[in-house]
């Protein structure tokens, strides 16, 4: 009689035998020795399936989390800077100056200030310089984009320093 091989037993217990392959089942019905060997493999499998004794302690996750670097730290630093009073103040001043230089007719505007404060400084070259830079950049929609950014910055600055302070008080 041809007995089963070790690989037959293992395939059988692993469920790797083809469903229509009845050879192993038929043989086991008639062969006492192979039934005994199958039982030995069953015992071995039961031992191998038992959970191992060592596992990480429950506190492992908490201890590890405490040591992890903060992924959002760089973003937080940028946000903190962008929302700082110093940045918003300078951004607001820059935005206001930019808008004034770009959009207002300086001749009439400055004449008004010259007359009132007896100023002698001529702002015209400064305005022309600013206009030249924008022209050199020659980007489509840049004026629109800049004006949008400036308006937002001004609104942000007004909100931060005036409206919020009024509400708080």
């Amino acid at each position: 009689m041809k007995h089963l091989l070790d690989s037959d037993f293992q395939d059988y217990l692993d469920g790797n035998c083809p469903p229509n392959d009845n050879f192993i089942r038929k043989h086991l019905k008639t062969c006492e020795m192979c039934r005994r060997r199958l039982e030995q493999y069953n015992i071995l499998y039961a031992g191998l399936n038992k959970e191992i004794a060592w596992v990480l302690p429950d506190s492992f996750a908490d201890n590890l989390i405490a040591e992890l670097p903060d992924r959002t730290a760089p973003l937080k630093a940028v946000y903190k800077f962008l929302s700082s009073e110093v940045f918003l103040t300078f951004a607001g001043i820059a935005a206001a100056l930019g808008a004034v230089l770009y959009y207002i007719d300086f001749q009439v505007f400055m004449q008004f200030f010259y007359d009132i404060f007896k100023l002698e400084f001529d702002f015209t070259p400064l305005r022309e310089e600013f206009t030249n830079i924008i022209t050199l950049l020659n980007l489509p929609g840049l004026s629109f984009l800049l004006s949008g950014v400036l308006v937002l910055l001004i609104i942000g600055a007004l909100d931060r320093f005036i409206i919020q302070n009024l509400i708080r008080t």
Partner: protein, 197 residues
């Protein structure tokens, strides 16, 4: 092969956006698998927790690069296995690829030594499960790992092969040979009535 899982995707997104609680969930989800791999590869109990920590930190740093080309369990399993291999290399501990080398010492050293064990060990000897565990622990690290991943973590040959960078056929062959050897050792040291009592 893409192995997209929306649960995993959600968890990864939360972790990569800085949610540490999500990473705690990740650790809890894979703590058992990592423990198994490290237990089988690292003999020194004192070093195991450090190796596990290194594995999870590597996973944390590299999660943003996970592209769902494999299961998340296989991906972290691979990190764990490679970290253990690096650990063994650092300590110059050999990782046997074949059990034939080990087979000789298995017979002559292990079982002979146990004849002179204490009475407590004599009682323990009766426990077949413990004997099997002891026999498994004497296999080479890669065979131990394959047995554990297959029998305890219920992974397929393909998944184990991916973790250990071995062809499926090699995984199957290692597993079969290791079990054959274990069965032979088990039978050799027990009378039939001991086994079937």
């Amino acid at each position: 092969m893409s192995d997209f899982n929306s649960d995993d995707n959600d968890l990864i997104e939360r972790i990569t956006s800085g949610d540490k609680q999500a990473f705690k969930e990740f650790i809890e989800r894979y703590r058992r698998l990592i423990s198994h791999i490290v237990f089988r590869m690292v003999d020194n109990t004192a070093d195991r927790e450090d190796v596990c920590q290194e594995i999870f930190i590597k996973a944390y740093k590299n999660l943003k690069n996970f592209k769902f080309q494999s299961q998340l369990s296989t991906w972290i399993g691979k990190i764990a296995f490679n970290s253990c291999v690096n650990y063994l290399r650092k300590l110059k501990i050999p990782m046997f690829d074949d059990i034939s080398i080990e087979e000789e010492t298995f017979d002559t050293v292990q079982w002979e030594n146990e004849e002179h064990e204490s009475p407590e060990h004599e009682i323990e000897k009766r426990d077949i499960a413990n004997r099997i565990k002891s026999a498994v622990s004497r296999l080479p690290a890669n065979h131990r790992t394959i047995i554990t991943l297959y029998h305890i973590d219920e992974m397929s040959y393909a998944q184990i092969g991916e973790i250990m960078e071995l062809p499926e056929g090699t995984v199957k062959s290692y597993l079969f040979r290791a079990r054959k050897l274990l069965k032979a050792k088990l039978m050799k040291n027990y009378q039939r009535e001991d086994i079937f009592r």
